[in-house]
């Protein structure tokens, strides 16, 4: 296999290494056809924005255009490596259909206009709604792909400028459960572990985390350990036979929606066999007794009946987890987007707490993110939380924020939790929200139950502003479209899953009149004339460095302290992990090395929630449960999924991703190599399931749920029997109908079929717990060329 063809071989060649030694450097590079390193005029420092791993790279520039990328060998995250999306994805910047001028809706059609006209419309509608109906009529829905400086500016203008609590990011779909699980167990958001834990671990457990496709470079690190001396043992929980599952010592493939039952059985076994660290539990946690009694009857045999996994396999997995001396666990969408998301993610935290496996090399916990800058959405408060992981129920925290912004505390809405994305759309549906400003995301493809979402966005009474690179499905439904600059066309910082902050520099000019998101927000704030309590401007900065400095002041003393960082410090070397202060100037590899200070009642971001109902715990209750600030061990009972199979809908539908695409293909679908690798939607079932229905590979099938249907080519793979998998990336921008399925024919967006249901704790929508049926539309026609058939072990998500 040609190792430079990173479509055929997404992970490239191996550089094996032994435990405790540094991960060797391997520099990956891809330049445009005919360009060599000598032809490159300039390299601009950056990092990846097509997944959450934060792979550092330099952008090659020649003649004012991006001509390729090269991994940064000096960086702690990737040591020079890049994944296929990063190697090829930069080409999307130059796609011919980039938005270059603002658009406004005139007589039902979007027409080009100038910035003044477009912004005047946005400002006049905002003012009108604020006067007539108050701040509760205005909502913002942002992304996991902007930069820190942009999120913080947006958070200040929404919280203290408009005064609305209707602010969220599409991080709600990818990483809300990670944040919530960390708050529940450790009092505050903040990733405990570090990627260096891969270098030290003797056991790695992946819960619903197909790392080989979602974070290819992190999988390269794990593969290099697996190929080196004294490799770690691998435990994989996934209903699909992923590349991770195929390398695992134990692969558990539970029925979708039963993670809590499985995890409770694993905890049962670990407690029953005495593989707990009593001294650690005593010193650092509260709640162990409740967990022990909750899981007392959750035997492997009990869980086997619910999860349809052999009890002996559960026992074997518990033995490996229980015998580990340096355990690294990672968690992603198989948990976060499934039934009882937060309750299950919290049980993985509990596994580490009862085994005392946190805060030391190799003893790591990574509640992963999906998107590149999701961490910043969370810490800056663009997900609606108060910036700097402050607690809306703690008046001292609100007062502190009011001092930083120089406003009265009552100007910052804190009478309740922030409004999450799904509820914002509900308020729009029901009519109490009059304006929705969407930045850098595509809900008309990514949210569940798309017919409903389209009908909400298309309402006459809802004023929709969309700020994006392309005329996405969502933008086609907007009243005003603002053309945005993207990665490589603006400067800012962002933070990956393991808290590593990177600088991303402007390499080239944005196309036409497109502007950085930061400039658009600053322009809006200036036009709205937001003032502080002394009459000065609420937002006093004018550029990325000014925004970064303002954020540093806001982060000071909080768990995500950035005071030791600056754009200058991040230039040239490796990314740095927060908290980074004068005392911890080189950053902080692991949190919780000496206790759980962030869980103290005076410090914590959240007092927690009921893991079944989502009801908030009061400050008084939290203080009496956890007066000294220890980790909270929270038990949860298993509940049956809200939508189970029936004779009409005998299969369980789960959606997911392929290594070649990001989100709704807005960028990756415009990259020739990536598009060719996975050009269209498919549906995956097991060979046994296909045989039972008389179906074969390549047949055109229809997947139907109570919400709707899609059509896709069938692939048979080693997925669990009774499960159908559909990748969610595919929408309609590259089809004749533009933003929806063609008339009278089922579409291809997986979310036509998904259920509107979310985890009541994290509010993350559940994309992996619905019932469906699969029927034949037509037999496979003549073999198609140019498509990947999914049988070679690397293609699409069949891998």
């Amino acid at each position: 296999m040609d190792s430079s063809d990173r479509i055929a071989n997404p992970w490239g060649p191996r550089t094996p290494y032994a435990p405790g030694s540094p991960w060797p450097v391997r520099t990956d590079m891809h330049l445009a056809e005919g360009i060599t390193e000598e032809d490159v005029e300039r390299w601009a420092q950056s990092a990846s924005v097509l997944h959450s791993n934060g792979d550092a790279m330099d952008i090659a520039v020649r003649g004012g255009r991006i001509v390729g990328v090269r991994g940064r060998a000096v960086d702690r995250v990737n040591r020079g490596r890049l994944g296929p999306k990063d190697l090829y994805g930069w080409q999307a910047n130059h796609a011919p259909d980039r938005l270059t001028r603002p658009l406004v809706r005139e007589n039902g059609r979007l027409v080009e206009t100038d910035w003044d006209t477009a912004m005047a419309r946005v400002v006049s509608r905002t003012r009108h709604l604020l006067d007539e109906r108050g701040p509760g009529a205005v909502g913002f829905y942002t992304s996991g792909q902007l930069f820190l400086e942009e999120y913080y500016t947006l958070a200040v203008l929404a919280h203290a400028g408009i005064g609305t609590s209707h602010l969220d990011g599409n991080t709600r779909l990818c990483t809300a459960t990670a944040a919530e699980a960390l708050k529940e167990s450790f009092g505050s958001d903040g990733q405990p572990g570090s990627y260096e834990d891969v270098d030290h671990a003797d056991t790695i457990a992946l819960f619903g985390h197909n790392v080989a496709e979602t974070q290819t470079v992190l999988w390269m690190r794990m593969l290099d350990r697996l190929e080196g001396a004294d490799p770690p043992r691998l435990v994989c929980v996934d209903p699909r036979s992923t590349p991770v599952a195929r390398r695992a010592d134990v692969h558990l493939a539970p029925r979708p929606g039963t993670n809590v039952a499985l995890l409770n059985a694993l905890l049962h076994e670990i407690i029953r066999t005495g593989r707990t660290d009593r001294a650690y539990i005593e010193a650092h946690t509260v709640g162990f007794d409740e967990l022990a009694s909750r899981v007392e009857r959750c035997t492997p045999a009990w869980a086997a009946g619910i999860c349809d996994v052999p009890a002996a396999q559960i026992e074997r997995a518990a033995e490996i987890l229980g015998d580990a001396r340096r355990l690294l666990s990672t968690v992603l969408q198989g948990v976060y987007q499934s039934h009882q998301a937060s309750a299950a993610a919290v049980q993985v935290n509990n596994l580490h707490l009862v085994r005392g496996m946190l805060g030391r090399p190799g003893c790591g916990l990574l509640q992963m993110n999906g998107q590149p800058t999701a961490q910043n959405t969370r810490e800056c408060g663009a997900d609606g939380d108060l910036p700097g992981f402050r607690n809306w129920q703690n008046d001292q925290h609100v007062a502190e924020l009011a001092r930083i912004w120089n406003v009265e505390p009552d100007r910052i809405p804190h009478h309740g939790p922030p409004t999450h994305a799904m509820q914002i759309f509900r308020y729009a549906e029901q009519g109490s929200l009059g304006m929705l400003w969407i930045t850098g995301t595509n809900p008309a493809v990514s949210l569940p139950e798309l017919a409903r979402i389209r009908s909400i966005l298309a309402q006459e009474r809802l004023f929709v502003v969309v700020q994006d690179l392309f005329l996405t499905e969502t933008a086609q439904l907007a009243d005003v479209v603002l053309p945005a600059a993207t990665w490589g066309e603006k400067t800012g910082t962002f933070t990956n899953t393991d808290r590593t902050v990177h600088l991303s520099e402007k390499a080239v000019e944005p196309p036409g009149e497109a502007r950085p998101d930061l400039n658009i927000f600053l322009d809006f704030a200036a036009r709205m004339d937001f003032r502080d309590k002394d009459g000065g401007p609420l937002i006093g900065w004018h550029d990325p460095e000014g925004a970064f400095a303002a954020w540093q002041r806001c982060s000071a003393g909080r768990p995500c302290d950035y005071t030791g960082l600056s754009h200058d410090r991040l230039r040239g070397g490796s990314g740095i992990q927060w908290p980074c202060t004068e005392e911890a100037f080189d950053g902080t590899a692991r949190l919780h090395s000496d206790g759980f200070a962030h869980a103290h009642p005076d410090v914590c971001e959240s007092y927690g929630k009921d893991l079944v109902t989502g009801a908030t715990v009061t400050p008084v209750e939290y203080r009496s449960l956890n007066p000294d600030g220890k980790a909270v061990i929270k038990a949860a009972e298993y509940l049956p999924p809200h939508e189970d199979t029936s004779p009409d809908h005998p299969l369980q539908l789960i959606t997911g991703r392929t290594v070649y695409h990001f989100h709704t293909r807005t960028k990756t679908g415009r990259v020739p190599e990536l598009n060719a690798a996975a050009p269209d939607v498919w549906a995956e079932i097991s060979p046994a399931e296909a045989a039972a229905q008389g179906l074969s590979d390549g047949d055109l099938v229809q997947v139907t749920t109570p919400r709707g249907a899609i059509r896709a080519r069938l692939r048979t793979t080693a997925v669990r029997d009774g499960v159908v998998f559909v990748p969610f990336h595919y929408g309609y921008w590259d089809t004749p109908a533009g933003f929806r399925p063609a008339d009278d024919v089922p579409g291809r967006a997986a979310n036509e079929t998904t259920i509107t249901d979310w985890d009541p704790v994290s509010k993350q929508p559940l994309y992996k717990t619905a019932a469906a049926r699969l029927t034949l539309v037509s037999r496979r026609d003549a073999p198609r060329s140019g498509t990947v058939d999914g049988s070679d072990g690397t293609a699409g998500s069949g891998a």
Partner: protein, 163 residues
């Protein structure tokens, strides 16, 4: 009938009603997705409570029927669901949701007070099986109360000021 028997009956009937009311409200507010799903989940607790109360009843001189049969949703339920879909786009429906949440909360409080009475009586009478039952069930009633209270807190600002 003893005082404990009378209280068991009152609580049993209260749990039966609460299960029914939660499920009916869940149907009525299908377009309020979180309410719909969680109401269905916590209705299961009331059903279990009614079952367990019926089991312990005879020992205290009361025959209790246990939870209602709801094998088929019925025409009325289907009608309620249809009405919910149609009303989901009208702001006024939000007020109806707040009204339902208030009633559900009050019903849970009433049940909670009965659990409290039984807990006290069980301790005084050193009735361990009854005390075990209360210890197992009362926390779930308190969770029903906290949930309805949280939902009211979260939804009121929008539904009362922006409509």
């Amino acid at each position: 009938m003893s005082g404990i028997g009378i209280t068991l009956r009152a609580l049993h009937d209260g749990e039966r009603d609460l299960e029914h009311d939660l499920l009916a409200a869940a149907e009525r507010h299908r377009t309020e997705h979180e309410f719909h799903h969680v109401a269905t989940d916590v209705a299961r607790w009331s059903r279990e409570h009614a079952t367990r109360l019926a089991r312990i009843g005879p020992g205290h001189g009361v025959e209790l029927s246990g939870p209602r049969d709801h094998s088929s949703p019925g025409a009325l339920a289907a009608l309620r669901e249809k009405a919910a879909e149609a009303l989901g786009r009208r702001p006024g429906t939000g007020l109806l949701l707040l009204h339902d949440l208030r009633e559900l909360h009050l019903a849970a409080v009433r049940n909670s007070l009965h659990w409290e009475m039984l807990a006290q009586a069980a301790q005084a009478a050193r009735d361990q099986p009854l005390l075990d039952l209360v210890s197992a069930c009362h926390p779930q009633t308190l969770r029903q109360m906290r949930w309805t209270n949280t939902m009211i807190k979260v939804l009121s600002p929008q539904l009362l000021t922006s409509v």
